[in-house]
């Protein structure tokens, strides 16, 4: 039901007053379902679609963003230098991969970029995206535009399509074309279609744009690989991502070090991990773990029965550096 402008104005004024009394921001107040100020209601097959928030799985990060990233909006991801492009793209694609998960994914993700950025930062590699974020090659589309005007045009046309699950637009630097008007057009279309548009800006500084949320993404060291004998020195495990909330109407600024788990496809909050999550290299808990480390063979006698006892006890001191875990060892403690 449409609410007329006067009533809307009154509601806004009241919200501001309540927020003042409660000592918080008006955006952080709970919004009743019937009144949705900034979003458009889209009905498909008579059922209203709810564009909620995309929760990353890292509790403190989500809480700082007031529940997560808006699903139907333009979101900016900034990288300070072009060499950070891998991390920035990885973070955005991980979020896009999270979007795919609940539906089972038929709608593809479109990655729009100029020829310049694909040459500078590398072309998206479907095998790696599948292994890291679970985005199958058939759910990916690329658009390579010769000029920035064309890239913006493609992104604008794509942002209004409900046949895509997300649009990723990657640009470099601070071009004049990408001003308040251009970003506002992208944002309005994303609102109308109910699909996110991720704007990746490599080697750019913050400018006024229409995007409600801006995140500054930087790389952080990866964890060590976890083996049965504890963390292995010198290995590269789950990638770390340092995220700073640069701008958000609802959030307080803050810095978080997230960690992407490619096996479970969730983020972990490394700075607050102790409170909510078990640290992956928590060897003290591991030794108490009653689960058999080596699986029983199915049927017949177990020839490794004698050896199992020995294998169950990890060595007390970590292995020397440079020693690699053998390949079959690694998937053994994937929790999936």
């Amino acid at each position: 039901m449409a609410i007329n402008a006067v009533a809307r104005d009154t509601v806004f004024a009241l919200r501001r007053q309540i927020a003042k009394i409660e000592g918080t921001l008006p955006e952080r107040l709970e919004v009743p379902a019937s009144f949705d100020a900034d979003r458009m209601l889209v009905r498909r097959s008579g059922v209203a679609e709810s564009h909620g928030l995309l929760s990353t799985g890292a509790d403190h990060f989500d809480a700082a963003l007031n529940g997560g990233l808006p699903k139907a909006a333009l979101t900016e991801f900034h990288g300070v230098e072009t060499r950070d492009a891998g991390t920035v793209a990885g973070f955005a694609l991980a979020l896009a991969g999270l979007l795919l998960k609940p539906t089972g994914a038929q709608a593809p993700i479109l990655w729009v970029g100029t020829a310049e950025i694909f040459r500078e930062a590398g072309f998206p590699y479907a095998r790696g995206l599948e292994a890291n974020f679970g985005i199958a090659p058939e759910n990916l589309l690329y658009a390579e535009a010769p000029k920035i005007t064309d890239a913006l045009w493609i992104a604008e046309e794509a942002a209004g399509l409900s046949a895509l699950s997300a649009v990723v637009l990657e640009l470099r630097g601070n071009p004049d074309r990408l001003d308040l008007t251009a970003t506002r057009r992208l944002h309005r279309r994303a609102l109308a279609a109910g699909r996110p548009v991720f704007l990746l800006r490599q080697a750019a500084f913050a400018e006024p744009t229409a995007a409600p949320v801006r995140l500054v993404v930087a790389p952080a060291p990866a964890t060590l690989r976890n083996t049965m004998a504890g963390p292995l020195d010198g290995t590269i495990g789950r990638p770390g991502i340092a995220v700073t909330i640069g701008k958000s109407r609802a959030a307080q600024p803050g810095q978080f070090t997230l960690e992407w788990n490619p096996d479970e496809r969730t983020f972990l909050d490394r700075t607050h991990a102790g409170a909510t999550h078990q640290r992956p290299w928590d060897t003290q808990n591991r030794t108490k773990d009653p689960v058999a480390v080596v699986p029983l063979s199915s049927g017949g006698t177990d020839p490794a029965a004698a050896a199992r006892q020995v294998l169950a006890f990890p060595p007390r001191q970590p292995l020397p550096a440079g020693d690699q875990p053998s390949r079959p060892q690694r998937p053994a403690h994937r929790r999936a």
Binding site: G122, R127, P137, E144
Partner: protein, 489 residues
């Protein structure tokens, strides 16, 4: 005067009336001509430009018939069977063609006959005439042998025995002619007289469907052209419906008054017959060429041709207009981008069975099906629910450089070991953590490609890279080179 190079000498290839009046002749040496008349203006011949001009003329002649063929370097064949009534008969059509060419500044000779050979002879030796069926022989008899489109060698040997006109050859008995001068001579005679069919192969494939509109007043505005496209597309729709087909490729031909033909082609990902959608694609195309779009004095003929068709599957939409058209939306979106930005604008990755990283994914245009030589990776056999059936996935970067970038590695601990620091794009990176090597060799049938040892490397700031060393360390050879191939998340 135009010169060309023939047997190491500059000779006259063509000349105008004023040069002819100076008693210069084609084939004469340029040096001789200059000696006679020092003031002559000589231009080098450009056969490629001549051919381009002839092709553009052929495009323009498309307005009379879709069957236009090039004939050598200076002629065009127009198969006007069944087209003459559109222009008011053969005489009116011949007059119109000659008048239009004259106004464009060309000196053209034309002839109409029921065989290609007779028309060729009539155009070159009679000029502006129409040869009725059965009159070919009467036309050819007084003409010289050149009218028969013979090779110079055959013509020379015929003339050497005194057969100087077509009539003389026709009067001679056939069998000795064939024995002495070859079957080619009789073939040309039979073709000219209509005893044997001659196929004129058209320059462009014939469109299965096309509609056109001749305009009394030429149009110049893009808006008018768009309105015409919609009109023509609506006319095509009923034909497509009757055939049960939709268009896969549509061409728009704009004939400018001064003879320039603009040809715009759009392709579609799925068969389409809706006029509004066809118009949408052409709108993108017209927007894309808007900088070098020159309407000049206007277009007097607009033609919409369907170049390729495919079966059109109808499906009924439900009342709520559900989200089933989302795939159609996507196809239309891809077509519009293709129409504006070209074939390679929207791409999709296809997994290929190969262990070499750059060959493991093929990137092909959106509307193409994967070629058959690309075999998709095999799905692991056996029940999927067992965790052991999950295939081992090697660690792969999320971005890959299109060409691996060379990296300078000053020193590594052991010759075949990982680098401790490296220089990439003139910046120095210190290595904090290393995993590897992962050794990837080319397939056995590509022996010449060296083996690569891949290392996953994390620098001190936490960025993760994929470096490889090409080849092995060997004391007698220069040290192997290092390359940056991709970046991880």
């Amino acid at each position: 005067m135009i010169s060309h190079r023939d047997r190491n000498a500059q000779r006259i290839a063509a000349l105008d009336e004023r040069a002819e009046a100076l008693r210069l002749k084609p084939g004469m040496g340029i040096a001789d001509a200059r000696a006679m008349h020092p003031a002559i203006d000589v231009v080098e011949a450009d056969p490629q430009a001549d051919l381009r001009l002839l092709e553009s003329l052929a495009d323009w002649c498309d307005r009379y018939t879709p069957l236009v063929a090039l004939d050598g370097a200076d002629g065009l064949f127009l198969d006007i069977t069944g087209c003459t009534h559109l222009f008011g008969g053969e005489h009116a059509m011949l007059d119109e063609i000659l008048a239009r060419f004259f106004h464009q500044g060309f000196d053209v000779r034309a002839g109409i006959a029921s065989t290609a050979g007779a028309a060729w002879a009539a155009a070159r030796f009679r000029g502006r005439c129409i040869i009725a069926i059965g009159q070919e022989e009467a036309l050819l008899v007084p003409l010289p042998l050149a009218a028969l489109r013979l090779e110079p060698a055959i013509r020379g040997s015929l003339e050497s025995v005194g057969l100087r006109t077509v009539g003389a050859v026709l009067a001679a008995p056939r069998a000795p002619l064939a024995r002495r001068f070859g079957i080619a001579l009789l073939l040309r005679i039979d073709q000219a007289l209509g005893r044997q069919d001659e196929a004129v192969s058209p320059r462009l494939p014939i469109a299965p469907l096309s509609v056109e509109r001749h305009l009394a007043e030429p149009v110049t505005l893009i808006d008018d052209i768009e309105r015409l496209v919609l009109l023509l597309a609506t006319a095509l729709k009923t034909d497509l419906e009757r055939r049960g087909e939709g268009a896969r490729a549509v061409a728009l031909l704009l004939f400018r008054v001064d003879g320039v033909v603009t040809r715009l082609v759009v392709g579609t990902s799925r068969s389409m017959r809706e006029p509004r959608l066809i118009l949408k694609l052409f709108q993108e195309k017209l927007t894309a060429i808007t900088e070098d779009f020159d309407a000049g004095y206007g277009f007097d003929l607009v033609r919409l041709a369907i170049l390729a068709t495919a079966p059109f599957d109808m499906h009924q939409a439900d009342l709520a207009d559900a989200a089933e058209d989302s795939e159609e939306d996507l196809a239309l979106f891809a077509d519009r981008i293709r129409a504006r930005l070209g074939e390679g604008a929207i791409l999709k990755p296809v997994a290929v069975e190969s262990h070499l990283p750059e060959r493991a994914v093929a990137v092909i245009p959106y509307w193409q099906d994967a070629p058959r030589r690309i075999s998709p990776p095999k799905k692991p056999a056996g029940p999927r629910e067992l965790p052991s059936a999950v295939p081992y996935q090697p660690e792969r970067p999320i971005r890959l450089f299109q060409a691996p970038e060379p990296v300078e590695v000053p020193a590594s601990e052991i010759p075949d070991g990982p680098p401790r620091q490296f220089r990439w794009r003139r910046a120095l990176y210190r290595v904090a953590k290393v995993e590897g090597p992962e050794r990837l060799a080319a397939e056995w049938w590509r022996k010449e490609e060296p083996t690569r040892d891949y290392f996953r490397i994390e620098d001190t700031e936490g960025r993760r890279y994929w470096l490889y060393r090409q080849g092995f360390f060997d004391a007698s050879k220069p040290p192997p080179r290092w390359f940056m191939h991709g970046v991880f998340a």
